[in-house]
Symmetry: C2
């Protein structure tokens, strides 16, 4: 985080409820499990400008299709999401269930149905228990409505938003929730977000659920551009298992309640804050990959183009052989070079150098003598940095992932039942 | 194998030594382990027409580069291969080691150096113990030369060729060796082959070591075409872990010693034999994937194009989530559809049906009620067939792979040391 030392913004406590005018909460609707938060509701007191990035999987979950449609006008006022059921591949019933989620949210909060965005995560191909879900949504909406008569303490706001973060978790072991604020001339802009990740995480697409809120005042088109470029260098650079879900999406709401439209220097600072925010949220997903014991950061420098750099970083970070080697704390740099070799990017292997942490293990495309002890020291850490240094150009990129472990196989050997 | 009932050829005992004029043997040169066959030598008594298909990994092993050069004239008389060391990414020393392999083989067998093809498999980035390797090659060559004075019984020929198959194994648990013959009007054409697979197996490239011999009389260009199309539907349809090696190659030698040039119907039968041969050899590789407990066959029918069908079959077969579900005997068909969705192929998910064995689990893109017991019965088998039935066209393809297991992680967590 040393690059952030001089950053103009600060991390603050809280999540999606941190920006002005946003409330969030989570409830236990027993979608799949008892006693687990599984319905999240995020609400803006005024209609917000809205942007979204979605899975490129040809098989799209029902809520995703509906949300894309409702996002066409660039306006939204609530996000409702559930875990425990992906609401994917169940046909007409799935479209109905997604619609019902939006309808219940809209009616209990008094919103237009097109201003409700819906998302689901969990097992594919199982019909949604719509009644339990609707009850959950009503309960959540009542909690949020009660908050409008300003009886919530700041701590209660934070706790309720935290429940929303809990409610979208599936096999995640840690809650992923961040907030930060940027001081501006006319006041403060806040950014809040929650995410879920863990399995079926791969860079080629939207790749997980992420909901981000801000009280900055921005038109939807600008918000969409901002989100797109942030996602490309954050969520899209994370890989857990190479699989891409049917449900992934990142949504971004800007309700303008700060009254501030960042321009010039403030715009640059805001953009930087959004990028750092998304990168940190994405890192949290990699760090909490299913069964992960180690966090991997793969940096590629000196690549011919940004696209090549990204392909190389993701290919190394996604290689089963690299991931198992890291799990086994084995300085098998040949697998790193081999994974770069099939990335589909152009580069000159004979000029490549590889570092594990600070330890140079290969240069000019071949191994160098290095201390196995020093390498082992690097690889025994919880966080491992791999650097592939090329001499083909100026582009660079970083990808994040985790090791491939026995526990990953255990988790995914029996997820459905 | 029911499609083979009326096939014009028959499987016979033996391997690369089965076709006339070919001898092969393996020796223990202590490249990495003691008491393991690790140097294979295949030799034709006359110069043979030669073809090859190679890894598309940008990082190419030293022997591969040399072999590609020596293959330019379409003629070869020997293949020398070692396991225990990939001779990859070691710079100038690697080029020298590959050259030394060819030189030793050529001088002890009395061949032109350009007629010797070299291959290596094993760990990347470690310098080859050239002296031990050269001793091994000399020993193997002496064994083969002694066979020319016809003192070997047919059984000895088979046993020696078998040692060549043993010598290219790494983490393979089973030897992969096949032979067959096609009766023709003027006699018999034989085909023999050995392969090694196990880890770093992925369809996008050459993907393993495979050496095939025949005594048919064919020009190199025709041999190359024959090999290319056979590899595309066999070795390139196998995936173990999505990783692609720096060393993969399939070589095909035709020495013409049968005196037969197959034409018309015999050509079609020969082509069919080569395809079936390569498919079976490739299946052996999938069946013996690192840590595999189950063999997966994924068939896609009704696809828009052959390319789409292949992409879909490989994507399903390569999905970590599908592979772990099969390991866990979990009928999680949603993962199958999701893996199809990110294959990069065009198809209509809402018309897709999925079968596990004979058990229909999804239709029109959504789940159907099926007996968990029947599905469990299918998934508890050692061989699992997955069928994705589309309605987008007439193309079909099949891919082969294996499940992702705890043992895979164990094997690859500490391979180098």
């Amino acid at each position: 985080m040393c690059g952030e030392l001089n950053r103009p913004w600060t991390w603050i406590e809280g999540g999606v409820g941190a920006p002005q005018g946003f409330q969030a909460t989570g409830v236990k609707a027993e979608i799949k499990y008892q006693d687990k938060y599984d319905v999240a509701l995020i609400y803006s007191s005024v209609p917000a400008q809205a942007a979204g990035v979605f899975t490129r999987n040809q098989v799209k979950a029902h809520p995703l299709v509906l949300t894309q449609k409702y996002l066409e006008d660039g306006v939204a006022q609530a996000i409702v999401a559930n875990s425990g059921n992906a609401n994917a591949c169940v046909g007409e019933a799935g479209d109905q269930a997604a619609l019902e989620m939006a309808r219940t949210t809209a009616s209990t909060l008094g919103l237009k149905i097109e201003d409700v965005l819906v998302a689901s995560t969990g097992v594919i191909g199982v019909e949604m228990p719509v009644e339990r879900l609707a009850h959950g949504i009503e309960e959540a909406a009542q909690i949020l409505t009660s908050s409008e008569t300003p009886t919530w303490t700041p701590q209660e706001r934070i706790e309720n938003a935290h429940q929303a973060a809990l409610a979208i978790m599936t096999t995640d072991t840690k809650v992923k929730e961040l907030a930060c604020e940027l001081p501006c001339h006319e006041g403060v802009i806040r950014l809040g977000g929650i995410a879920k990740g863990s399995g079926m995480i791969h860079p080629n697409m939207g790749t997980m659920l992420g909901f981000i809120t801000t009280d900055a005042k921005l038109p939807a088109a600008q918000l969409q551009g901002l989100l797109r470029q942030a996602v490309d260098q954050s969520f899209n650079m994370v890989t857990v298992d190479g699989d891409t879900s049917t449900n992934d999406m990142v949504l971004f709401l800007a309700n303008g309640e700060s009254g501030i439209t960042p321009v010039e220097e403030e715009w640059l600072a805001f953009q930087e804050m959004v990028n750092s925010f998304c990168i940190r949220l994405a890192q949290e997903i990699a760090r909490d990959g299913e069964g992960a014991t180690k966090f991997l950061e793969v940096q590629v420098t000196g690549a011919k183009s940004l696209e090549d750099a990204r392909k190389l970083a993701k290919s190394i970070c996604g290689s089963s052989l690299v991931k198992t080697a890291m799990y086994g704390e084995d300085a098998n740099w040949g697998r790193i070079l081999a994974a770069a070799g099939y990335a589909g990017a152009e580069f000159n292997p004979s000029q490549a150098a590889i570092y594990l942490g600070e330890c140079l293990v290969a240069q000019n495309g071949q191994g160098v003598h290095f201390s196995e002890e020093v390498a082992k020291g690097v690889l025994s850490q919880k966080e491992i940095k791999i650097l592939l240094q090329l001499k083909d150009g100026e582009a660079q990129a970083t990808a994040w992932g985790c090791d491939l472990t026995h526990e990953y196989v255990t988790i995914n050997g029996d997820y459905r039942t």
